[in-house]
Amino acid sequence: MNSPESSGEEKAQSPALFTVRTAEIVVALALAIGALIVSWSNYQLGAGWNSYGPDAGYFPFRLSVVVFLASCVVLVNAIRHNDRSPFVQRDQARLVAVILIPLIFYVFGIAYLGIYVASAIFIAAFMRFLGKFPWWKSAVVGICVMLAFFYIFEIQFKVPLPKGPLENWLGY
């Protein structure tokens, strides 16, 4: 964990990964393309009028046209405003990646290990590598938190969560 002082210093020095302008343009283009795909899909389905009233695609088709037009407006505004302030700085991007990438591994892990084991590993790894806790403390916290969750969900509320080999072996 960075202390506020040091991160403040780094923020001032850290170069921008890309600017607000770039981000605005990319998002607006993505939205416009998405809107075109969706409107085409709804057009195929029928965006007009049949004997019972509006077709299934009537409402969504018009909405996607609105999204397309509005994203064009955003695009034009973004180019005109030319906001060169940073969208994310390199340090910030690193911090976000530090949580986003493990999160993706974690969601993968749920499919194979079950949610309890994957979560315990996720919490412990986070504490070990980001919080610089000794490994035994990380392990204890990770396991205890998940035991508490197991008690609440599996035993108290009887909500089935994805389980893996360990729970099968224990007979749950």
């Binding site: 981000a23 899909s41 389905l45 509006p54 609105v66 530090v98 949610i115 996720f122 998940m146």
Partner: protein
């Protein structure tokens, strides 16, 4: 009178030991949710909603609405002690709350924030008690065109009153509608926008979207700031509480003004955040010593908290009476109603009398209980924030993942949650508003059904929306709110030009 009797019966229902227990659990969970970054009113309620599927609706709504009250209270703790708003609506509380804490008057600031919140909420509930049945009775006359008109008004006022760029509000809202339309079409049974994927057949559940948009994205944003919590100590003893309470009557004007602002913005979908800023601004403008604001004025804490809580509470009025939520959290609660098998809308006051009046009764009790709980447990919750972020962040992620999974028992939903988290992160940074998106996602199907039923009835003539006085008035109101920014800009321009001309003439 009849309504008051019903309310008394409601109190009778709520005062069972089980419901009181659920109420306290809800408030405690709510405060935790309000204190932690990344968990807030909407996603706190969304995560816990699946646990209530098997409860009876009355107990379930009591618990969930108490989470909402708790979250409203909890936001103030972090903003006063840590200068970190736990919720968007407590940003204005930091302006004077943190300076007070720095001066060692944290106890006073907290007591007045909580008491102000409670007063604001009670004013909101009183308004609900008397106004909601009337609104519902009036709305019984509504047919599909009128309902569509009211939906239209809601969405227009979001666009007209939103602070974000209008095109972005429009995009966010339409994306919400489009996401709601994915999957099986309710009228024709055709598949829409599934692109051949079986996972998309189920459509997008708003609960998953809320957890991702508000929970995961918030953690990403907090992470980006490299946050480390450094807080002030807080101790509240009875002496401070009573001293502060004795002082409060002096500020009755502020309290009343903020309550009214809050109720107004809560019923019209302005939301608690707008209300808190407006409450603060008005208090500063009309105060006898505006210079004290920002340096630790008690009024500066009272005004935004009262307004935020009044708005948060009265946002439930349109939800109960019309089936149209006034805030993101109210939207999630509305989704809950549908899951428990209740049909939201004006018929609720007739068909589910017990449910409605128990909920209203629980609002009175919940807010008073909330005040007592929060006053006695502040040090405990302040301690939560001293837990290192490297434990809290993954734990919140795990809770979010569990919440997303339990909605449909589908692992695909966890992926969706992550995707919504990234979208929410980008949207927040680029000022795309999230609340209209969630609202559209919840109301999308209902709004579309109302529109299509109307169109079938009128054989496609849009003139049906102006066919009688009632629906015409609502539509005109909607168009006015939609075009209001345009109108006021033109008027300002004209006035500006007029003053220019008069000044050139005189010179």
């Amino acid at each position: 009178m009849e309504d008051l009797n019903a309310l008394m019966q409601g109190f009778g229902h709520v005062l069972g030991w089980q419901n009181i227990g659920l109420m306290l659990i809800g408030i405690l969970l709510g405060i935790v949710v309000g204190v932690l970054p990344g968990l807030g009113g909407p996603n706190g309620v969304a995560i816990l909603l699946p646990l209530t599927f098997s409860m009876n609706p009355t107990s379930a709504i009591i618990m969930l609405s108490c989470i909402y009250w708790g979250a409203l209270f909890g936001g103030a703790i972090t903003s006063i002690l840590f200068n970190i708003p736990g919720e968007a609506w407590s940003v204005a509380t930091t302006f004077d709350g943190y300076p007070l804490a720095q001066q060692g008057r944290a106890g006073e600031a907290l007591t007045s924030a909580f008491t102000g919140s409670c007063i604001g909420a009670l004013v909101g509930v009183i308004i609900i008690t008397f106004l909601a049945p009337l609104v519902a009775k009036f709305a019984l006359r509504f047919g599909p065109p009128e309902f569509f008109a009211v939906y239209f008004l809601t969405f227009c006022s979001f666009i007209g009153m939103g602070k974000e760029p209008k095109a972005k509000i429009l995009i966010a809202m339409c994306i919400g509608f489009l996401l709601a339309a994915v999957g099986m079409d309710t009228v024709s049974g055709q598949l829409r926008m599934t692109f051949g994927s079986t996972q998309l057949l189920r459509g997008f559940d708003f609960l998953v979207a809320v957890i991702g948009l508000f929970g995961v994205s918030e953690i990403l944003l907090t992470m980006e700031e490299g946050l480390a919590f450094k807080g002030k100590k807080a101790a509240i003893d009875l002496k401070v509480v009573f001293k502060t309470w004795a002082m409060l009557p002096r500020y009755w004007v502020t309290l009343l003004r903020s309550s009214i602002i809050g109720c107004w913005l809560g019923i019209t979908p302005g939301g608690a955040t707008a209300a808190s800023f407006m409450g603060y601004g008005m208090a500063k403008k009309l105060s006898r010593n505006p210079d004290g604001f920002g340096k630790g004025a008690i009024e500066g804490v009272l005004a935004p908290e009262t307004a935020a809580h009044a708005a948060g509470t009265s946002a439930l009025l349109p939800m109960l009476a019309l089936g149209i939520p006034g805030s993101a959290t109210a939207a999630v609660l509305l989704g809950g109603l549908m899951i428990w098998g209740l049909q939201p809308g004006p018929m609720l006051f007739i068909e589910q009398k017990d449910f409605v009046w128990s909920l209203i009764a629980s609002m009175y009790l919940g807010n008073i209980a909330g005040l007592l709980v929060v006053l006695s447990t502040v040090p405990l919750f302040a301690a939560i924030l001293r837990i290192p972020f490297s434990i809290i962040a993954p734990a919140i992620m795990v809770v979010c993942a569990i919440g997303a999974f339990t909605v449909h028992n589908a692992q695909f939903d966890i992926w969706l949650m992550v995707a919504f988290g990234v979208i929410g992160y980008i949207f927040k940074k680029l000022q795309y508003p999230l609340a209209p998106m969630v609202l559209a996602l919840v109301l999308g199907d209902r709004a579309e059904d109302a529109f299509r039923q109307t169109m079938v009835g009128s054989k496609g003539a849009l003139s049906v929306f102006f066919s009688n006085g009632l629906v015409g008035t609502i539509m005109v109101l909607a168009l006015i709110t939609l075009l209001w920014p345009l109108v006021s800009a033109v008027m300002n321009g004209l006035r500006h030009r007029a003053t220019l001309r008069s000044s050139t003439q005189t010179s």
